[in-house]
Symmetry: D2
Subunit: 400 residues, 4 copies
C-alpha cells in the first residue's frame, strides 16, 4: 500500500529525501541511515513523494528532477523525479532576511485563498503525510487555534509563522478530505503546543514533532545519559556547531538562533537532572563547509574520589542526509499510527525522532532509551517484522 | 547491616576504592562516580573493607593507610585505613615481567597450604565480598573445575593464573564458611567460564565479571548502539589507549595485551551485528601520563544517500577511580543477590558493570540498554529506594 | 641592574606575573614559559614589580599579597608581595558593563589631575616599564596626539579609552622624569597608531604592542605558515574559543568582541596571502572553565592532485600564565632597547610577542619566523648570552 | 630545459606524482601542494617522467597509464602516461612479507647483471633524477662502499637492501653516463650514511634524503619548535598513526616499524633539546581508511607559574599526495644543484624536504626554520624568481 507524501520546503533535506528514496527503491544504494530499514510492516518502496511546495522562484514550477540537479551536480538523478512538481507555497516573510528571491501565494491572493489553494493541491494527489521542512523560524506561542483562525481570516500576514499557516491547511485537509500525518521537522513549536495538538486530535491529524533529531544533539543526549547513569558530575558542557548550508546562514539571525538554542540546551537539565553550566549553540557560518558541518564538544566531569575527566568530541557530519534518513521511518511509522486511528501526538515516536519531543510535558531523553520505548510501541502495534538486534524486552525474557 | 569486603591486589584501583569510600563515609566528598549513590537498599556507609592481599614486598604487612600515602601524597588520608592490613597473597608468576619485587605465599609453602592460609585470613574477618584486582593476566581456558583442583593438589605453580587460585580459595570459603560474592574486575575469564560458574552455583558463590567496565569501552558501546539504531554503516573504527600506570606497563607484554584486546574488540560485532574493520587496543605506555590515560577514537560511517560522516573522540580519563566508583555498587548489588540466594552469575548485573559480561553466551550490549535491564532487576528485587531519573519501565506507564 | 615595573590592571595576568616572578626568583619553580630564560643580558632576578594601579574597590589599597591570595587560594604566596601596593587608577567607564565595583581617580578629581596623580605615583618608585593589562576595550582610532590632549584638558571622560589616558600619563612621565617602556598587552590600538608612535619617539618612549600573543592565535600563525610554505590551499578555517575568566565575560560585549576578532582574523590574510573563508572568534563564556580556556580549531585544505586534508586542534590552555611568561621577556628586552635609546616601536620585538604587531604597516607573521628576526635583533644588540638551540643565523654559517 | 625523472617503486606516491604532474601541465588543476609552484627557475612543465621500475607482476611491463587506472578508478587519466613503461626492477626480498607477487631481475640473472640492466634502462632515457619510492625497508648501517661492492659482486642477495643496490646502480650511471640526483624518499639510510655520501661526491651524485617529509612529523616539528621558543616544558608527547595503504600494512612488520619510529622520534630531542617522554609510532592498519590516514597527537606541557596546558591534534591526511607534491620541488631544486655541480648532500634542501635530513650530523629542525634556510640557499643560487610572501632575509632589510 502506497504512502503519499507531500513536502513543504524543497531544500537540501527534502531533495536528499526524494533522491535517496528513489535510489534505494531502484536498488542502487543500501538503506543506510534509515533506522528500521526492512523491519517495518510498510516497506521503503511503499513511500511515494507526490508533491512539493516552495517559494523560491528558482524552484517554483520546476520538477524535483530539475531541483535535484542543482543540489547534486555529479549524481545521476533518477528520472522518476521529473514527474513531481514544486508548487508555489506560502512564506509569510519567513525568509525575508535570506538571499532568496521568494514569492508566495499570499503575494497574489488573500492568505485564506492561498491556504485553500494548497489544500486543493494536496487533495489532487491524496497526500497521507505532510512534512514541514521550511527554513527555521521563530514561532511565538499560540494560545488557541481560534487565535490562528482569526489571524488568517483577517489576512494578518505579518508575524504569522508560515508553519502555522501550513498546519491550518492540514487541519482543513483532514476535516474535508481524510486524516493525515503532519511532521514538523523544524524547531517551530507544533507538537509541543497544547492548542495545536488538541486541534489535531479533533481534526484527525497525527503530529510528529518538533525539530528532527539530526545533528549533534541526539548523540549528546546519549553521552549525557551515559555520564548520568554513572553519577558523574558534569562541570561544564560546550558545544559549537558551524556549517555552510542555508540552515546555518539563517541561524546567523539572532531570533532564529534562539529558537534553535532552546531546543539544543533543554537536554542538559532534562537528562542530567540539574542544569550543568553549558554553552550549546549554532555558532557560525562558513560557506565552504557546505552541508557537512563541523561540531566540537567539550565535557568536563567529576568522577569517583574527585577525579576530573574530560571528553572532547569533534564531528564532520552531513545534517541533511541524517534527517532525510530518519524521515523515511517517520513517514512509515506515522502512517502506521494513522492506520490505527491514533491522532494528536505520540511521545514514544517523538522521543526518538525529534529534538524537542511533544507533547508539551514530553522531556528530551536519551535516544537509546527512547529507542526502547519505540520498539515497545511498535511491538504493541504489531508493526515490526522482527526485533532489531536486541532490546530490553527481548533480553528480559531471554536472559534470566 | 555491614558488607565486609576483601580486596585482592592493593594497586591504584583498590587503594582509590578504600580512600574514596572512607571520604564519602566521612561526608568529605559527594558520591560522584557511584552510579546508584543513595538509591539502593544498602547504603554506601554499610560497606567496610576488612582485608587485602598483595604480593609486592613494598605493600605486604603494611596498613592500607601506609599504602594509600604512597599513591596520594598530597591527600589527607583517612586514619581509619590504618587498621586494615595487607596480607601476603599468591602471585604464581603473574607479575614476573614487571618491575615489582614480588613474593607470594607459594614461595614459602605448597600452593594448597597457601590457599588454605588465604581462606583462613578471610574467615577471621568474615568477608562477604571478594574483589579480584590483580594485574591483567592471560588465562587459558579451563575445561573443568577438576582440572584446577588437580593442578593445585599437584602444586603445579607454573602457568596457573593467580585468579584461578583465588577462585579456588573462594570456593573453599563458600563451602566451609558462608556464601560470598566473587567480583572478577580484571580481564581473566571467570564469569564467562561455564565450568567455574557451575562450581559457583554448587558452592553458593555469586560471580560478577569479567573485567570492570571502566575506560573507553563502555562509552564506545553506547556510541555504536547510537549508530546501529540509525542503521548507519560503520566503515572503520580506530581506538587508541595510552597511559602511564602499572596496567599500561603490564599491557606492553603481548600476551596480556591480547587478553585485553579481545575484551575490547568483541563489542564491535556484538553491538553492530557485523564485524566492522577496527583497531581497538591498549597502544602504549608513557609514564608521565600517570593514571589519567589518553584515548583517541575515530569512527567513519555511511549515512543516508551515501553521505560519509566522521566522529573523533579524545578523552583524558582516570581509569582507576572510574572502576572504583563502579565497584561501590557491584559490592552492594552483589550482596543483594546473595541475600536472595542467587548464585552463579547474573547477566543484568554483569552487562552494566563488566566489559565482558558472563555467562559464556552473554553478549556485550550498549550500557544504556544494560542499565534498563539492571533497573528492572533491581525493581524486581525491591532493591531500589526510588527509580533514578527515568527508565523505560516508568516512562512506559506514564506516557501513553 | 634592577628593572622597575609598574602594572596597570591587577587582574589574573598581572597577579600571575607578580607571583610567578617571585617564585622563580626564590628558586621555587623553573622559568618555564619564559622564552629566553637565562639567555638575556638582564636576568629574571633583575625585574622588580614596584607599583600597580587598579579601579576595583576589592583591590585598591590592598597589597599584591592580599590580591594574590584571592586568585591563588591554595598557593603559598611569597611574602615579598606584601610591600607592593595597588593604587587607585583610572577607568573611564571601561568596565561599566562588568560585575565590578569600580571607582577611578577621575570620580574624585578632574581627569588632568588624575593623570598627574598617576605620574607622581610612578615617579616615587622610578618605574622603567609600564604594562597595560586592563580589561579589553574598544579604542576608536585617534588621528593626532593633540586630539587626545584636548579631550583630557576638557575633561571629556566619556568615550575616552582608559588606555589612552595611561599613554598620556606615560608621555608626561617620559617628558618630565625619564624614558620608559610602555607595553600595551591588550587589543587597544597603540603601537599600531601612527600618531601615538610619533609622540612616543618624541617623548622617548618605547611602545611594545599591541595585544600580547598568548592564546591560540600564535599557534595558528605557525600552522598557517606551515601550510602556506607547502602551497596547500586552505578552504576553511574555524576557531572557537571559550573560557570562564573575566576576559571572556567582557568579550560577551559585542564591541569588545569585535576588537578581539579583528586581531585574531588578520593573521589569515597576512600569512596565507589570500583571505581564506574563516570564523575566528572568542565564542562564549562558561564560568566553570575558569582561566583554562577550551579552543577548537578546524582547517580543511587542498593538497597535491586535489587531495582534501583536515586538521582538528583542541586545546585546554591557561591564557594568563602564557601571557605573564612572555611579559617577563618583554620587560627585559624593552629595557635593553631603552638602554640603546631606541624609542617609538620595534617590529622584531612586537612581531614575536604581540598578536597585532606595530607599527601600523607591521604584518602578523609566523611566530617561528618572528623568533628568527628577534634573535637577529638581540644578536645585533649583544643582548644574548648565547644563541638558543639553533637559528638560521647560526645554521647558515655552520652547515654549508 | 627538460628534467628527466626515473621512478623506483610505482606505488601510490609515484603514481600520484605522475598523474598530478600531467594534470598540472595540462592546466587541469592548480599546483596546490607544490611548495614553490611557479617561483623557481625551472617550471613544473619542465619535469618529464621517463621511466619507472617495479617488481610487482601486476605492474611490470604495463604503462603508467594502465597502473594509474588501478589507483584512480574514477579519474580521467592523462593519455600521455601511456608512453611510459614500468620496467622490471630489483627487490632483494624487500617485500617478501607483503601480499604482492614479486619477481625482480635478480631472479633471472646475477645481481651484478641486474644492476647493469637497470643502468642501461636509465641510459636509454637519459635520466637526470632518480627517486627511490620502494616500500619502507630496514637498512643495516653500511661502513664502506667497498663492502657494498663486494656483496654485489658475490651475488649476496640476502639481507642486502634494494635501496643499496639502486644506489650502486646510480653510482655506475654517474660514473659512466652523467651526473644525477638520487632522491631517497624512504626511511632507508642513504644521505645520512657518510660512506655513501662520500661515494656520491666522488661519482658526481647529489643525494637528497632521507625519508620524504610528508605525514604528521613535519607539523610536529613546528609545533615543538613553537613550544620550545616559549620555553614551555613538554611533559609527554603521544602520536598515533593509522592508515590503510601498503605503507601501513608493511609497517605492521616490526623491523620496518623500528626504521620508521627512529625517524619520527628523533625530532623530539633534536628540537626540544631534551628527550621528553614520548610515544610516536605508526600504530596500526585498517584497510578501509585507505591512503587517508588518521593521526592523533597529544602534548602536555608546563607553562609559566606551573600551569599545565594540553594540545590535542587529530588529522585526516593523504600521505601520498603530500609527498608527491614535495617531490615536484625536490626534482627541480635537485637539478638546480646539479647544474651548479654540487654533489654529496645539501643540508638546507634535506632539512625542509626530508624527515631525517643528511648529512649524518644534520639535525631534524623545525620545518619553518628549515624553509628560511632553503630560501637563503635558493637566493644564493639565483634560483628564485621572487621571494615567496616573506622571509627573515627580506623582513630584515625592510623592517628596521
Amino acid at each position: 500500500m502506497v504512502i503519499r507524501v507531500g513536502l513543504i520546503g524543497q531544500g537540501f533535506v527534502a531533495t536528499t529525501l526524494a533522491v535517496g528514496l528513489e535510489r534505494i527503491k531502484r536498488g542502487e544504494i543500501p538503506p543506510y541511515g534509515v533506522p528500521f530499514q526492512d523491519l517495518l510492516s510498510y516497506r521503503i518502496n511503499d513511500i511515494e513523494i507526490v508533491i512539493s511546495h516552495d517559494i523560491d522562484e528558482e524552484k517554483v514550477d520546476k520538477s524535483l528532477y530539475e531541483v535535484a540537479k542543482k543540489y547534486f551536480s555529479t549524481l545521476d538523478i533518477p528520472e522518476s523525479l521529473s514527474t513531481i512538481r514544486v508548487c508555489r507555497g506560502i512564506h509569510l516573510s519567513s525568509v525575508k532576511d535570506l538571499p532568496i528571491r521568494a514569492r508566495g501565494l499570499e503575494d497574489f491572493m488573500s492568505l485564506e485563498r492561498a491556504i485553500e489553494k494548497i489544500v486543493s493541491d494536496w487533495e489532487k494527489v491524496h497526500v497521507d503525510v505532510i512534512i514541514n521542512l521550511i527554513t527555521t523560524e521563530h514561532t511565538k506561542p499560540l494560545t488557541s487555534f481560534k487565535e490562528l483562525e482569526t489571524k488568517i481570516h483577517n489576512n494578518e500576514v505579518n508575524n504569522l509563522p508560515a508553519t502555522y499557516a501550513y498546519f491550518y491547511a492540514a487541519a482543513l485537509y483532514a476535516n474535508t478530505v481524510k486524516p493525515l500525518v503532519f511532521v514538523n521537522a523544524i524547531p517551530a513549536i507544533v507538537a509541543k503546543n497544547t492548542a495545536l495538538v488538541s486541534k489535531a486530535i479533533e481534526s484527525r491529524i497525527l503530529v510528529v514533532g518538533d525539530d528532527g533529531a539530526s545533528g549533534a544533539t541526539p548523540l549528546t543526549s546519549d553521552l549525557l545519559e551515559h555520564l548520568a547513569e554513572r553519577n558523574r558530575y558534569v562541570r561544564s558542557i560546550v558545544q559549537f556547531n558551524i556549517g555552510g548550508n542555508m540552515d546555518f546562514l539563517s541561524l546567523m539571525n539572532p531570533t532564529r538562533n534562539i529558537a534553535k538554542e532552546t531546543t539544543k540546551s533543554s537536554i542538559v537539565e532534562d537528562i542530567l537532572g540539574y542544569n550543568a553550566p553549558h554553552f550549546i549553540k549554532p555558532t557560525g557560518y562558513v560557506e565552504t563547509l557546505g552541508d557537512k558541518k563541523f561540531v566540537s564538544m567539550h565535557i568536563e566531569y567529576i568522577s569517583f574520589n574527585e577525579a576530573i575527566d574530560e571528553i572532547v568530541i569533534n564531528m564532520r557530519i552531513n545534517d541533511s542526509p541524517a534527517l532525510a534518513g530518519l524521515l523515511v521511518d517517520v513517514i512509515r511509522i506515522g502512517k502506521i499510527a494513522l492506520d490505527n486511528e491514533e491522532y494528536g501526538t505520540i511521545y514514544p515516536i517523538n522521543a526518538f525522532f525529534m529534538k524537542n519531543p511533544g507533547p508539551r510535558e514530553g522531556k528530551s531523553i536519551s535516544r537509546i532509551v527512547a529507542y526502547q520505548l519505540l520498539i515497545d510501541w511498535l511491538l504493541k502495534h504489531r508493526a515490526l517484522k522482527k526485533v532489531p538486534r536486541y532490546s530490553v524486552y527481548t533480553l528480559e525474557k531471554f536472559e534470566y
